[in-house]
Point group: C2
DNA sequence: ACGATAGGTGACCAAATGGTCACATGTCAA
DNA sequence: TTGACATGTGACCATTTGGTCACCTATCGT
């Protein structure tokens, strides 16, 4: 399993993306705190966090009996750089802004 | 299945990422041409291309009996924007530009 | 017209994935 | 020290996914 394979497989699950959303909003949460935001058992959440950690999308720090979780945005940047041409990046951004405007109108 | 779910699931497979790499290098290829770059049977490649197309990562155009495939970078950009803080990004960009200026002077 | 070429569908099977539970370890606080 | 709390492991099962094949339709060139 390559590094980028771990990252993309980690991002493939909606629960794991929701966990990243939670950490994007506020870093440094414990497993128990994250579990309380989900319908799933503690074991399910733990498994997902482990996958995110092995993909380096989440980094952790132990503090006594607690384990704090932090979002690491670096692998996300690397995805972007893989398929977004530097020269056409401006163009893509413009398309996204247009899309957002069209959706606002509806 | 939501839009973003389709995108992330599509990106989860290494063969599909390789197909995107091929199209990033050169657009407008046919199924048969893409198949020749892979070890897999035509049916396998076709299934993968279908997943990419349903995720809107690849767009197609018919030309007679051929179907031409093109890379669409927009969903990639949306992934980036979801977890990369705008302010942090600007800060990083500014630092990178400053670094480039300093290197020009030396 | 007709053989060759390009693409498409549905069924099928092996392997990977998502989720739960019984059970276990380490740490805090009174 | 002892009970409660936070996290960790391995086994287990249902569902999804990756890949192939037999068979099919549509288009090209001669």
């Amino acid at each position: 399993m390559t590094d980028d394979d771990r990252v993309f497989k980690a991002l493939a699950d909606p629960t794991r993306r929701f966990l990243l959303d939670l950490l994007f909003a506020r870093d440094g949460r414990t497993l128990t705190e994250l579990e309380s935001e989900l319908e799933m058992s503690r074991f399910g959440v733990m498994k997902h966090l482990r996958v995110l950690e092995e993909a380096n999308l989440v980094v952790t720090r132990r503090s006594g009996r607690e384990k704090l979780h932090f979002l690491n945005p670096v692998p996300i940047r690397e995805i972007h750089d893989r398929w977004i041409d530097k020269y056409t990046e401006l163009h893509t951004t413009t398309l996204l802004e247009l899309k957002a405007e069209l959706e606002d109108e509806s």
